[in-house]
């Protein structure tokens, strides 16, 4: 008895809720994409929703790759209007978009994300050079005889006596992550160039040069820790030997627990990253389907909110959340692109 009542009750409730929210034209912006841009885009979306008469956009956190896949799947209500990305769109993705009829895309750079190497406050502040970072984390290092050997550094002090006498243990993002790509490109390759055996290789064999510079060791010294940066911070807190690689906003919020290491003598402060003195930061983007701005209400207004000085400017609310603003000239360029929905992606 009881059961059938429940079953019927559920059926009734379901029909009722189906009836009340029948599918009608979309009046809400749909955004997909990178989990790194997510914390910034959501702040803008929330402000936009509260201060305008439009609905707050729905922002999914799918990863940049998945974001482009959904974004490029087609035009129309069933497909997202905007995708966030922690890297620039790739050629193959542009082609995929074009194949599905999406030819007018505006790229908007929103600012920079600093990538920091941090450790627990219980340990000393590390002062690293890119060369040392490369030697500590590369899969293969020069063996001093013109060839290469598997990286056999165990302690930081083995690389340079000035470094702490601690085991090399660095927690960082997995190879599927844009953060990892950016780190490899900026820190590892930067360090790579400082080692003459490898620099010489660049002229003779580009492929091997690339492989040497971009491979990160897999013997346990580098721990692939997933994308949850809060977890990395808490693991660092518990383990003073370990270092972690993550976004600047997490360092900013957890300054009592972790401290950022100096890279090439510069500490990862907001000012240093913004001025470019601290060399490890990467741009963040979003991409808009221009054709959908006509059918979905609010897209232009959302872009205007995002591209306002109040949001991404030097003292805007995004900088409070840890986004490093672009230089004024760049802001101006992207603001005008966003306002006019200029198609700036070449097909």
């Amino acid at each position: 008895m009881f059961r059938s009542t429940i079953a019927l009750g559920a059926a009734v409730a379901l029909t009722a809720s189906l009836a009340t929210s029948a599918a009608n034209a979309r009046d809400q912006i749909r955004i997909v994409g990178s989990s790194t841009v997510y914390p910034f885009a959501t702040v803008v979306a929330e402000k936009f929703g509260k201060s305008s008469h439009f609905k707050t956009p729905v922002i999914e956190s799918t990863g940049s790759g998945g974001g482009f896949k959904l974004f490029c799947a087609g035009l129309g209500e069933g497909h997202p209007d905007i995708t966030n990305a922690s890297r620039a769109i790739k050629k193959s993705e542009v082609e995929n978009c074009a194949k599905n009829g999406i030819r007018n895309i505006t790229e908007v750079k929103i600012g920079y994300d600093g990538i920091v190497i941090a450790n627990s406050r219980d340990a000393e502040v590390a002062n690293l050079t890119k060369r040392q970072i490369f030697l500590a984390l590369a899969k293969d290092i020069p063996d001093g005889k013109g060839g290469f050997k598997a990286n056999d550094y165990i302690k930081w002090s083995d690389i340079d006596a000035s470094l702490p006498n601690r085991k090399i243990e660095v927690m960082g993002p997995p190879p599927t992550s844009g953060t990892r790509d950016a780190f490899v490109e900026l820190a590892m390759e930067g360090g790579c160039g400082k080692i003459k055996e490898i620099a010489a290789l660049k002229k003779t064999d580009k492929n091997i040069h690339k492989a040497v510079c971009q491979s990160i060791r897999e013997d346990g010294a580098f721990v692939e820790a997933g994308e949850n940066d809060v977890l990395i911070v808490r693991k660092l807190e518990a383990n003073p030997n370990a270092f972690g690689i993550f976004g600047f906003s997490f360092l900013d919020q957890n300054g009592d627990k972790v401290q950022g290491s100096l890279i090439d003598g510069k500490s990862p402060t907001f000012e240093n990253i913004a001025s470019g003195a601290y060399g490890v930061s990467r741009p963040l983007f979003f991409y808009v389907k221009n054709d959908q701005a006509k059918t979905v209400p609010g897209i232009r207004e959302y872009l205007a909110e995002f591209a306002s000085e109040n949001a991404w400017g030097e003292e805007g609310y995004l900088s409070d959340k840890g986004l490093i603003p672009m230089p004024a000239a760049e802001r101006k360029k992207y603001m005008s692109d966003a306002k006019n929905l200029t198609t700036n992606i070449m097909m």
Binding site: L14, A22, S61, D252, K321
Partner: protein, 426 residues
């Protein structure tokens, strides 16, 4: 029952020793069982205590009492939405410390009040348009950093460079507290609001409703279908190779990673049927497919354990197979089926991975009103908060987990009552 019956004859020492060792084995066995139960219970206790100690803070919020002058310059009675409440809030905040003059300090001072204050004020004016032109006194939330300071999470004794709150903010905070303007109150927002990127404005209601709608769909689909499949396979299907293949296939579905069900949902429900993205309806359908194996397996085990004599007796009295099932077998198997459903629903309640593909891992501010509105669910909310940089989200995460557990306890309690109703021991 287990008391040994001492036989009057031939109780040799050897047999006594054997008996003693058998009894010792009995005692040991029983102790192992007890230890296993205690281990499980201590695990649940540890987890609960951990979550509670981390989460109870999220149920309180630091608020500040401010006077707002609702002057006609800034408020246009005909367009309250477009009025400049930001300026009013700023002015009231600056009035707290009139001697702050530098631009930098003013900016810092403005930020001690949550950015939600202007919207709270707006809503107040919309509700009380007659107060325009007067000065009103409202309690508004403080910013998350000062809230954390007041709760002791951000420690004032640290060096200024190590904390997010500057010395001047701490001095303002202390002076306001001494004036009695700062209070800690129950955090109602947490239960009445939806997601927000400002911890002090974030709430769980949207996600809780999303979970409710999703589970409603899941239960409505997976329980009847699961039970019906179990009945067919166990009671009606001919015992041949085909049934065996179906059985293996169902067992195998239980081991398919949940994200693959998400891929399936994306391909079938969204791309083929064209159902809306991020909707609890689709989420519920995907989770129903995912929980089906659990319910079917448990249901079959339950039906298997009904003694054949019951069925034979019913058939012998002339009952049809369906009557035997409905009146005799199913009622006896119901508790086991309920167990499968409890476990399946508990799993569905805590699942995030399959929802990613169908767009439910998302920032959604509007509270869903039905199964086709965009919504997220509680475990997704917990996951998203746990990955947010803001420190105040740590306690919100635990708070959300507490709410999820309350959900779970209610659901389980309901199921236990139902299970109790059907229980029969043989």
């Amino acid at each position: 029952m287990t008391d040994s019956i001492s036989l009057p004859i031939a109780a040799s020492t050897a047999s006594k020793a054997r008996l003693a060792s058998r009894h010792a084995a009995e005692r040991r066995f029983r102790i192992y069982g007890l230890l296993a139960v205690l281990f499980g219970l201590s695990c649940i206790l540890t987890l609960f205590v951990t979550i509670l100690t981390g989460g109870y803070n999220s149920f309180s919020q630091t608020v500040i009492t401010l006077d707002f002058e609702l002057d006609a310059d800034n408020i246009d009675a005909s367009d309250i939405h477009g009025s400049n409440f930001r300026t009013i809030v700023r002015r009231s905040t600056y009035a707290l410390f009139p001697d702050v003059t530098t631009r930098q300090d003013k900016r810092t001072l403005a930020n001690i009040v949550s950015s939600g204050a202007e919207y709270q004020l707006r809503d107040f004016v919309i509700a009380h348009p007659d107060r325009i032109g007067q000065t009103v006194t409202l309690q508004v939330p403080m910013s998350d950093d000062l809230d954390q300071l007041s709760k002791g999470v951000i420690r004032a004794e640290l060096d200024e460079s190590e904390r997010r709150v500057s010395d001047i903010e701490i001095s303002w905070f202390n002076s306001l507290r001494d004036q009695g303007k700062i209070e800690t109150v129950f955090n109602g927002t947490f239960f009445t609001a939806s997601d927000s990127r400002e911890p002090e404005l974030a709430g769980i209601l949207g996600a809780a409703l999303g979970s409710f709608y999703t589970l409603l769909v899941t239960l409505a689909l997976s329980f009847p279908i699961g039970v019906a499949s179990a009945i067919y396979l166990e009671e009606f299907a001919p015992k041949n190779r085909l049934t065996q293949i179906i059985e293996i296939n169902i067992n195998n579905l239980a081991a398919v990673p949940s994200i693959v069900f998400g891929l399936l949902g994306l391909a079938v429900f969204l791309n083929f049927f064209g159902l809306p993205r991020s909707a609890p309806l689709v989420g519920g359908m995907v989770l129903a497919l995912m929980t089906l194996p659990t319910i079917i397996i448990a249901g079959r085990a339950a039906l298997k354990s009904v003694p054949p004599s019951i069925r034979q007796a019913a058939i012998g009295l002339g009952a049809s197979p369906m009557q035997t099932l409905m009146d005799h077998t199913l009622p006896l198997a119901m508790p086991g089926m309920m167990t499968g459903t409890i476990l399946g629903m508990a799993q569905a309640l805590g699942e995030t991975a399959p929802l990613l593909m169908i767009g439910m891992v998302a920032f959604i501010v509007d509270i869903p009103g039905g199964v086709t509105d965009p919504a997220t669910v509680m475990p997704v909310q917990i996951y998203l908060w746990s990955d947010s940089p803001e420190r105040a989200f740590v306690e919100r995460t635990s708070g959300a987990i507490l709410v999820l557990l309350a959900f779970l306890v209610t659901m389980n309690a309901l199921a236990v009552i139902l299970r109790k109703k059907f229980e029969t021991k043989w």
